[in-house]
């Protein structure tokens, strides 16, 4: 996990003391408001009521909680796949466009990125409500004779989360596609490959780092997503973040909530470490390489 190249040391070097002094506020902030609270929380999960793994056993033994975990994984996977299917063609067209069309496409992709998650979730609540636009349309085209329950279902959560997380998929794929020199496609064409073969054997393999980066980014975000499932989901089909919130705030079962956070953090960490060699965060953030 490095940001190498981005931050290469250069020029007259700072003294050791200077570096420590300049970095100290950052380390104090992270230690106080990130590391300590997290370690503190996780320690509760194994120390209370007595040193024990019982809190973790409950997560996996109780079928209700195991189902929440499984459902969360399934929804996160579904959202990632949907995002990929929707995003790749958009990124492809963006990378192949120039001038006003490229600007227009980029603006369309970036606009939701810059509007509030709460606003977008509210928009889906309005669209999916009983007499909302989706139900009106379904009735107008005769697919259904009376309003269908769309809100507070797993489908609502999946659609809205895909909408919110999609831009995180488009940008890395677009970045990877744009870095492919156009000579490659020409070389493939001269060698006799048609556009389809060029796509499968040249473009797609070279775009894979962007694809994997996007999928991981969306998958990780979806695993711990709180706002959209809390507002649009059904209480019977809870995801892990809502369960954590419920155990923490309503049941006041802090050790168990902490164990749930532990499981979630473990998932996220393993996936990140496993893929940290494949994708680099600085590229995801739009940094130069």
């Amino acid at each position: 996990m490095t940001l190498s190249g981005f931050f290469e040391a250069d020029g007259r070097q700072l003294s050791r003391a200077g570096i420590v002094l300049l970095m100290a506020p950052f380390f104090v902030l992270i230690a106080f408001a990130f590391l300590y609270p997290l370690v503190n929380l996780l320690s509760i999960s194994v120390l209370e009521p007595a040193p024990t793994l019982a809190n973790y056993e409950r997560v996996f033994d109780n079928p209700v909680y195991a189902r929440v975990l499984f459902r969360t994984l399934r929804i996160a996977l579904l959202v990632s796949l949907l995002s990929l299917l929707l995003s790749f063609p958009v990124a492809l067209l963006m990378a192949n466009s120039t001038g006003p069309k490229a600007v227009f496409l980029t603006a369309c992709v970036l606009l939701p990125f810059w509007s509030s998650v709460l606003v977008r979730t509210a928009a889906w609540a309005v669209l999916l409500q009983r007499n909302g636009l989706v139900n009106q349309t379904l009735q107008a085209v005769g697919l259904t004779s009376e309003p269908v329950t769309l809100l507070y279902t797993q489908g609502a959560v999946v659609v809205a989360m895909t909408h919110v997380l999609m831009p995180f998929m488009v940008l890395p794929i677009y970045g990877a596609l744009r870095n492919i020199p156009s000579d490659y496609a020409r070389a493939a064409a001269i060698s006799g490959a048609g556009p389809v073969r060029t796509f499968w054997e040249v473009t797609l393999p070279l775009a894979m780092p962007g694809v994997i980066g996007g999928v991981i980014l969306v998958f990780l975000s979806a695993l711990g997503y709180f706002i959209t499932p809390a507002l649009l989901g059904s209480p019977q089909e809870m995801m892990i973040a809502t369960l954590i919130s419920q155990q923490m705030r309503e049941n006041l079962d802090w050790p168990f909530a902490a164990a749930l956070v532990g499981v979630l953090t473990l998932f996220v960490t393993i996936i990140t470490i496993a893929f940290s060699k494949v994708f680099r965060f600085d590229r995801m953030m739009g940094g130069r390489t």
Partner: protein
């Protein structure tokens, strides 16, 4: 246009419709005369904006959010620029630790951070306080500010500072008079990003909210959950205008910064 390109275009425009329709549909509802949220909007009124600005609770929440976001932006810009400068000028092994810790808040889900801070702040009395929110939002916004500042800093020719120092300037003077003016647009852009991230942050706000002091996103969450009034589209319009203004501002600043960094090298 061959059929394959046509198909790709059609698919992409369908996807763009999926992206844009929900956003474009909620905005005009801010001007609808109906009490409930429905499309298409009927009539035209600015009543919901007036309601928003007249309501004490919404105004309190907005100013509370503005206060937190401003403090977050300033704190993040200062701390982030200091650390990034040390990194670019040779932090060695400490730099590796810095980078790992910088990535941490991106990787760890916000729900985990929010719950951890909820517990910690309960025992330290920081729950619901400005300090508590600012600390949490600084952690979340820091990576974005650092990346923005680092982009400018890594393209500043270190020979400029070396020259200033060989003329007798201290390291700090060289930074203040040479480097800082060059990277300032990016530092401000980074601060703007931090402002927007903080102003729009719903998860930590959900857990840290006190009984009295709520942030704007927290108030919006409650409204969406309970009654979903037309005030939400009105806020959506205001937030969209704010975000677009910040986005354009940040882009302009970044372009300025690129010009700043490029100019001295050409001569």
């Amino acid at each position: 246009m061959n059929p394959r390109t046509l198909l790709l275009n059609a698919y992409v425009y369908a996807v763009l419709a999926f992206i844009l329709v929900p956003i474009l549909i909620i905005l005009p509802m801010a001007f609808s005369e109906t009490q409930y949220l429905a499309f298409p909007p009927q009539g035209f009124t600015l009543r919901w904006f007036a309601d928003f600005f007249a309501d004490r609770r919404w105004m309190d929440a907005m100013w509370f959010s503005v206060k937190i976001a401003t403090l977050t932006a300033i704190t993040t810009a200062i701390i982030g620029t200091m650390a990034t400068y040390a990194l670019v000028r040779g932090a060695g092994s400490l730099g590796t630790v810095f980078q790992a810790l910088l990535i941490g808040p991106i990787v760890v889900p916000h729900i985990a951070l929010a719950v951890a801070l909820y517990l910690f702040f309960q025992t330290t009395g920081l729950s619901g306080t400005v300090t508590g929110y600012v600390l949490a939002h600084c952690v979340i916004a820091m990576p974005f500010t650092v990346f923005t500042v680092a982009a400018a800093l890594s393209s500043v020719d270190p020979a400029l500072e070396d020259a200033a120092m060989s003329c007798g300037a201290s390291r700090f003077t060289a930074f203040r008079l040479i480097t800082l003016p060059i990277i300032l647009p990016n530092v401000i852009a980074g601060a703007l990003f931090a402002f927007i991230i903080s102003f729009d942050e719903p998860v930590v706000a959900f857990f840290l909210a006190g009984i009295r002091d709520k942030t704007l996103p927290r108030m919006m969450f409650d409204d969406i959950e309970q009654n979903l009034t037309p005030i939400i589209p009105a806020i959506a319009v205001l937030l969209t205008v704010l975000s677009i203004a910040v986005l354009i501002g940040a882009a302009l600043l970044r372009r300025m910064s690129e010009r700043n960094a490029a100019a001295p090298k050409e001569t």
